[in-house]
Symmetry: C2
Subunit: 230 residues, 2 copies
Amino acid sequence: MACERALVLLSGGMDSTVCAAVAARDGYEVWTLSFDYGQRHRAELEAARAVADVYGIPPVRRRTLDLSRVFCGSALTGDAEVPLDRDTAEMAAGIPATYVPARNLVFLALATAVAEPLDAHHLFIGVNALDYSGYPDCRPEFVTAFEAAARLGTAAGVAIHTPLAHLTKAGIVQLGQAIGAPLHLTLTCYRGTVPACGRCDACQLRRKGFAEAGLADPIPYAADGPPAER
Amino acid sequence: MACERALVLLSGGMDSTVCAAVAARDGYEVWTLSFDYGQRHRAELEAARAVADVYGIPPVRRRTLDLSRVFCGSALTGDAEVPLDRDTAEMAAGIPATYVPARNLVFLALATAVAEPLDAHHLFIGVNALDYSGYPDCRPEFVTAFEAAARLGTAAGVAIHTPLAHLTKAGIVQLGQAIGAPLHLTLTCYRGTVPACGRCDACQLRRKGFAEAGLADPIPYAADGPPAER
């Protein structure tokens, strides 16, 4: 049987990297789509390239779209401060400052547009249970609604795979470890520093995930980061 | 009551121009969003600007996004020939060569992302009954499905207005005429020539619409275009 094509939304973070690993494990011909949306950390795109290299994905199968003129006004794009040292309750209270308007809606729409002429009828996106708490476009019901819209709005439709949807961050770490995802190459920190800051929401959730999974995080953290305690 | 903001997807064509006219008539503060997606006719964007000028929309309320790296492989973007002199049956048979993958899906997703930080909770898009025949993402059920996805995927959601949804091209012409839409400024021809070619699907449908509405089309056509007969 010919290998089916999957387009993986690959940010260079841990979640999308585990998604790429799942798609590769499941036998898809993996294509990647990365978005440059004026992140303060272009380092994320470098991480995406390193991950794609690990999976032997040739340049012709990699797409990067420049969305820097689309997203503005969120902490991820440089217009606001990244909040630091928040506890879990603060993170869970409403939509975070790092919210980018309709990000996954735009990402999935563009992925659908990119996938169709490639005859890639499978999209992989790393939305998960934790993100669900703060970002409306990470909710499973959003993904299902989007899939329905895409099916009606395109010639062939796409199947949207969310292999992390019901995993905690610890579950994602364990899955990534089990299938050999190159977690050491991934970049998570909202501030995009190397070593990672360890204090932004993303760093804290990642460290907590590794701690709960009982595994050592292979990336370096700044000495002033707090311990990864719950 | 403060004026509510509406973001109108304005291509510079007749349909989106009538949409802008409807939004203005209905008392919205009109903002416009135009897309540059490598059209062979940048003239369309010029037409959009001229229409926005007519409605006194200041530059700060106009957005243009460059999608030239997203869409490829369709006649509208220069990679294929625009079919000429097709009859209505040929136009109705399947997805046309001018189909751009998931165009309205991407347009609506980007419009939702642009609208949210502007506190614009209304989107106007000129999909209509005729387009329904060939483009999957012009179907009313697609728009409804998208609206549901956007409501789940954003903080505030958007209401999508499709004032032309159930109009024929003749009905659009009559509506535009009745509310003073500047139809003389609009550009319809897929080939983007001035005078218009009169032979591509878009020109033929436009001329037929004016003929059925019993009105003269105010734009010039090339002498080699066929008469606007049914």
